[in-house]
């Protein structure tokens, strides 16, 4: 019989592997390929952020409603941003029109349902006018400047009135105290604006332009005509936004690894392999086609925050679960680890991950690394 000799087995293994690769040589110029790959990655980051998120590698997602839909698994891959038509006359002669390439670094991405715009980093988050009466498109303003939030160091929201600050509004109800109507006198962006397309002068140097973009209208008002032009020039539509979040999804893949696989992946990664994490907030809509997840808001955290979050997630916590997300909302977290983009879905109501009722609940220390920017403004509690 064959002698059980470890050295013999090792030699067989070594020879076998060496023989298998003996004649293998590169076919292509790998150095040039690496440079081109790096250029593409840089362009992708600059233009569409993490568009690679559409290439779903690992998906962790469970619907607390029926498990049939998952915004993280949309297979409609980004086909490149489209630029809505903006009538030059609506901008006035003072405004630069072809300024897409001059949008300042540091301006952040704001998107809503496939429509993306970029604004200065100091702008806050608030509400667009809601139509209290559908028969009158402009009637019934809700919130507006009465409730906004602004970039801050901690994660907690502090909705309040900040008349001196510009903001980006979405059609959400931020509080009952806002009802009654507020007319704007300062700079703002309104997604899903109820106003007709066109340009208007609001006085005191404030000019507002409303344009069609995708399936909605967007109003941009600013006292600075140059920045107004830059914001309008940044307006694009697409199926994946600059933070890497899909605009909408109907699909769901049944076979998905659990959070433990993502944590294994993170544990094996070096610090440089954490590419930052997209944070995508969806609203769930019920239609004849089933559940549809529409992107309400997105942001992104850097690799350090991503790594901190995954490290904390891997550890048991004695804290009480902190989340309280409304049933009609879902947050999808998309870490970028090495070359992969796993996705974690925070379930509604209990703010936990995982399958069915087996997910783990998240205490504050697990939420804090990603509940940044406008998340606290737009994530609403259980009804």
């Amino acid at each position: 019989m064959y002698d059980n000799d470890a050295g013999q087995l090792e030699r067989i293994m070594r020879r076998g592997l060496q023989a298998q690769t003996a004649s293998l040589l590169p076919h292509t110029d790998l150095a040039e390929g690496a440079r081109e790959g790096a250029r593409q990655r840089r362009r992708t980051r600059l233009r569409m952020g993490a568009a690679a998120a559409a290439l779903v590698a690992v998906v962790v997602a469970i619907s607390a409603t029926d498990g049939q839909s998952d915004p993280s698994t949309d297979n409609r891959v980004e086909a490149g941003p489209n630029r809505p038509s903006i009538p030059a006359e609506s901008l006035g002669n003072r405004l630069p029109f072809d300024v897409a390439s001059t949008i300042p670094d540091g301006w952040r991405v704001e998107s809503y349902r496939g429509v993306q715009i970029r604004v200065p980093p100091t702008w806050g988050w608030g509400a667009s006018p809601l139509r209290l009466d559908e028969r009158s498109r402009a009637a019934g303003y809700v919130c507006g400047r009465a409730a906004q939030d602004y970039p801050r160091a901690d994660w907690e929201t502090s909705l309040g009135s900040h008349p001196e600050r510009a903001y980006v509004g979405r059609p959400v109800r931020l509080g009952d105290h806002c009802a009654g109507g507020n007319e704007e006198t300062g700079s703002h962006v309104w997604f899903d604006s109820p106003l007709p397309a066109g340009s208007e002068d609001l006085g005191d140097g404030l000019r507002r332009v409303t344009v069609d973009a995708g399936e909605i209208r967007v109003s941009v008002a600013h006292t600075d005509s140059e920045e107004l032009g830059l914001i309008l020039a940044s307006l694009t539509t697409g199926s994946v936004d600059g933070n890497g979040c899909a605009a909408e999804s109907h699909l769901f893949y049944a076979e998905q690894p659990g959070p433990a696989d993502v944590l294994d992946l993170a544990a094996a990664a070096g610090s440089g392999d954490f590419g930052g994490m997209a944070v995508c907030l969806y609203e769930v809509e019920v239609s004849s086609q089933g559940l549809t997840y529409e992107l309400l808001y997105s942001t992104a955290v850097d690799g350090a925050a991503e790594r901190l979050f995954l490290q904390r997630l891997a550890e048991p916590s004695a804290q009480t679960p902190a989340c309280d997300i409304r049933v009609a909302q879902t947050v999808v977290l998309q870490p970028r680890i090495a070359a992969s983009t796993p996705k974690l879905r925070v379930r509604p109501t209990s703010c936990d991950f995982g399958y069915s009722s087996t997910g783990r609940q998240l205490p504050l220390e697990h939420v804090a690394p990603w509940a940044v920017d406008g998340i606290a403004t737009y994530v609403s509690g259980a009804d």
Partner: protein
């Protein structure tokens, strides 16, 4: 010593380094991925990231280790996405190579290769790093970011699988 600790070598030029090291790195990627096409894709992706960080990587003593880690991480992520494909080892004998004086039929490169392909990605990486790259257990543990006993266990179980393969074949040929 970790990869991050190795930033003490003199910088080298990217193209020259790729030209010199690409064949070896491609062979490593091939053993890990199981196909030439996947190996070239994995290597291109790893080199692309390496190029972006070349100012740091170029001064590392063991630049290969950095690229190997990228390839391994990339492969693990793909493995998690795709269903693991296990090849039947019963029929995976392949050509025999001359035995080392034992006068017995031993598995050839094809058999070892198919056995290797049947292993989970991390275990396969441990085997390739140990027997192809010749790394020590601590070096493999550092590269795979897992405890050294786990690496030893991966390698031991792979060798046990090889032994089972041999004994099974010999039993059928008695």
């Amino acid at each position: 010593m970790t990869v991050a600790d190795q930033e003490v070598a003199g910088p080298v030029e990217f193209d020259g380094w790729v030209t010199a090291r690409a064949p070896a790195l491609l062979r490593f990627a091939y053993l890990l991925t199981g196909s030439r096409e996947a190996a070239e894709d994995a290597l291109k992706a790893a080199l692309s990231k390496t190029y972006e960080r070349w100012s740091r990587v170029s001064v590392m003593h063991d630049r290969d280790a950095y690229v190997r880690r990228l390839i391994v991480n990339d492969r693990i992520s793909w493995w998690r996405k795709l269903a693991r494909q296990k090849l039947p080892v019963d029929n995976a004998w392949g050509e025999a190579v001359p035995p080392d004086g034992a006068g017995l039929s031993l598995p050839g490169a094809g058999a070892v290769w198919r056995l290797c392909q049947s292993l989970p990605t991390k275990q396969r990486a441990a085997v390739v790093l140990r027997f192809y790259e010749g790394l020590s257990y601590p070096e493999i543990a550092d590269l795979l970011r897992c405890p050294e006993p786990v690496v030893r266990s991966h390698v031991h179980r792979a060798l046990a699988g090889l032994q089972d393969l041999i004994e099974g074949h010999q039993a059928r040929n008695v």
